[in-house]
Structure formats: structure tokens, C-alpha cells
Symmetry: C2
Subunit: 234 residues, 2 copies
């Protein structure tokens, strides 16, 4: 029986854009686990109320309900120990945890500011009022004022990616010679942007661009073949 | 025969403050390796010319001369495979490499700006002209103008440490339940400050303060017992 996963969807239910859900989609593909995703919208709190909170990813597996992408990754690692590892051990897990918070503080806010207009355009009509009011309360300003221009966003992101880019000088992936959960954490941020926005965040000469290309190809092109709200098939 | 290590020293030759040298001191202690440190000053380029460059740490081991703290760590891991590991494997090494560049971009500049006056006071008289001219060329301004106030420095550092602090919420060390090279990378930055400056960079309530306390106690208190330029024995 496949794992069931509530996955944030746009106006087009095939468009999936949550960076946290993308971590888990990649993690399940990494482990070769069957998954059935259920499109979920921001306002559908009732559908995931069993998880005790209101955000996705939420997974149902073997009668358990789990939420929070980090907790889900730890669960998958423990529940499927015979499958390829998301973390090579406790040291890699500890270091991935730092990378997680770095991604969420250094990358997520910049990417969100850069894609916010496209993101707002891509979400389901029924989500728009909720999204606008909750985000405007969080940002303390209208979405339109919060937004970076594409050029500013790309420039700020280029600088923010410094430590990650520098490491790619001597390794193909965040996790060394092979991708693992650390890579999926960073990649989730880029899939968030890719799914909803045609803005090119990375210069083609950037080693991070090349890394992202490698990531897009993984697991039979799971990322590359994802449906995009803006209809591009780049 | 002990490994010989050229170690940046202050006016007091017992005061050792290089963040990069501290990584290696801790790494050698971690592996239980004997080391004989040689106090070295910025202007003593000739003494390490065999390394082909002008910065420490430089180590001499088994007839080899090695430089660059990351390269030295990789060397120690390979040359002493039967000793406790600095990296549990390639994944931990890859993630530690990202942590290294994060430390150097997010922490080092802030700490340097905060301690620069104390650092300048602590270095050897023969190093002062070189240090001032090389650093003022790099910063594009006089040292005194470059400096943060202690309060500003601590405030900026508190914010910069965000991702590291957040991870400490669920683990005792950067590398999980036990310290390893990733921890020594971050700890080196704090030993740099501690050796030369009485400025308290961390609030005692900060989980990073508690982590630093644990690090100071490691390897028979190698960090805690280090000589301080300002004569404190905290």
C-alpha cells in the first residue's frame, strides 16, 4: 500500500510547489517508496486535522499520521532501514539539520520575496484570501510591497548561496559525491520557485545551477518533469 | 615522533589565536595525536616557505609538509584511519565543507570586526605594521574604523548564529551527539575571540554558549586551558 501524502497544490492541482513537500517527495523517491499524493490547499485544514496542525507535508503510513518534513524524514529513515539512507549516520543527520535551518533562514526568505507575485498567481482561487491575509500579517506589508524585483532577488540569492557554492567547488552534492537528504532540503527551495515562477534565479555559469541540473535529473527526472504553473517545459 | 605544527602566536608566544590552527589542534587531540606546536608570527613567511604559501596552520608529518586547515584535516583522516574519525564518512565530510564556508562567511567577519582592536593589541610587536597594512588594504579602511562596538558585534553575531543555534535545540553538537570536525570549525572561530579579547560574544542563556562550554571542556580542557592574551582565567 503506498504512503499517502498531502501535497500543497496550486490552482492547477498538478502543480506542486511546497519546498517542504518537495523534500519528502525526493526522499521517498530516494528510498524507492511508493507514494500517492493528495493535492491539498492552504485552507483545507480539516483534511489534515488528524496531524494536529495545519501545514503539509502530512503523510499516512502504516496507520500513522506524521507531519513536519524533518520529522517525516527521520521517520522514513527509521521505518525503512533497508532502503537507501537519507543520512549516512548521526553525524550526517546533525550536519543536515544545520543545513536545514540555514536553508530556511538564508534562502527561503529571499526566494519567497522574489517569487511572491508568481506564487500568488499560481495558488488556488480559494487560497488567495487566506494566503494574502496570513502573509501580509507575517510580513507587515502588502504582498506587492514585499516583493523583490527579479534582478534584486537573483542578486541577493547569489550572495546568500556563497557557502553552498564554495563547497560545490570540490564536491558534486551537498552530501558529497552522492545526493541525500541535505541536497533535498536545498533543492526543495528551488522547486518551490520553479513550480510557480519563470524567474531565473541562477546564472547558467553558477556551480549551483549545475548542481540544480543534476538534482532535476535524479529519480527519473522527478523534479524536471514536474508540472509548472507557468506552462514552461524547460 | 610528534607532528610539528606552526601555530599563530601573539606577543606572548603562549597565546595562540588562529581559528584555522584551532581547528587542527582540536582535530589532533580528537585523534589522540602527539603534536609539537611552534609559535609563528605573521611576518615569518620564510619559516613556512616549504609549504609553498604564507599562512598557518602548516604541519610537518612523516616527511610531508601540509598547509590549509581543511586539507590538513583530510590528510589526518587518511593518514590515521585507525584513530577516531573527524568525519564519519563522505556525506559528513561534504556537509562539514558547507559548514566550513558558512563559518567563514557568516561568523568570521563579524567576530573579526568585534575583536579587531583586542586582536591588534595582542599580536607580536613585529607583526603590527604588516597586520595593519595588509588588513587595512583588505578592509579598505583603518582598523579602528572597521571595528564594531562590542554590543553591535554581539548583536550581529547572535543573528548570524541562527541556523546553528536552531540545530542545537535537538542535538548537543554540530555533528550530532558527539563532536567532530564540523564542531571544531565553528569552535575555532570562538577560540580566536577568546584568546585575544575579553569581549563576551554570547549571552549565557544562548544554547550556543552551552555548546561552547562543552567544547571548552573537550580533550582535557584544551580550549579552556589555553593562555589568554588578556590574562583572564574564565
Amino acid at each position: 500500500m503506498p504512503i499517502e501524502m498531502f501535497d500543497l497544490a496550486g490552482a492547477d492541482p498538478e502543480v506542486r510547489f511546497s519546498p517542504f513537500c518537495w523534500r519528502i517527495r525526493m526522499a521517498m523517491a530516494h528510498k524507492g517508496l511508493d507514494v500517492r499524493t493528495v493535492p491539498w490547499r492552504f485552507v483545507e485544514k480539516q483534511a489534515i486535522s488528524e496531524s494536529g496542525q495545519g501545514a503539509v507535508p502530512v503523510i499516512l503510513d502504516k496507520g500513522r499520521v506524521l507531519h513536519d518534513s524533518w520529522a517525516i524524514a527521520l521517520y522514513l529513515e527509521e521505518a525503512y532501514p533497508d532502503r537507501p539512507k537519507l543520512f549516512s549516520g548521526t553525524q550526517a543527520r546533525g550536519l543536515s539539520n544545520i543545513l536545514r535551518f540555514w536553508t530556511q533562514t538564508a534562502l527561503h526568505p529571499v526566494i519567497l520575496k522574489t517569487i511572491i507575485n508568481d506564487l500568488f498567481a499560481a495558488i488556488a482561487p480559494g487560497d488567495k484570501a487566506y494566503f494574502r491575509s496570513s502573509r501580509e500579517a507575517r510580513f507587515g506589508m502588502p504582498l506587492e510591497k514585499f516583493a523583490f524585483s527579479p534582478e534584486s532577488g537573483a542578486a541577493v540569492l547569489e550572495k546568500a548561496l556563497g557557502p553552498f557554492r564554495a563547497a560545490l567547488d570540490s564536491q558534486d552534492f551537498a552530501c558529497g559525491s552522492k545526493p541525500a537528504f541535505g541536497d533535498y532540503i536545498v533543492f526543495g527551495a528551488f522547486m518551490w520557485a520553479r513550480a510557480v515562477s519563470p524567474i531565473e534565479l541562477l546564472d547558467r555559469q553558477d556551480p549551483v545551477y549545475e548542481w540544480r541540473e543534476r538534482m532535476l535529473d535524479l529519480h527519473a527526472g522527478l523534479g524536471r518533469n514536474a508540472k509548472l504553473a507557468h506552462g514552461l517545459t524547460v
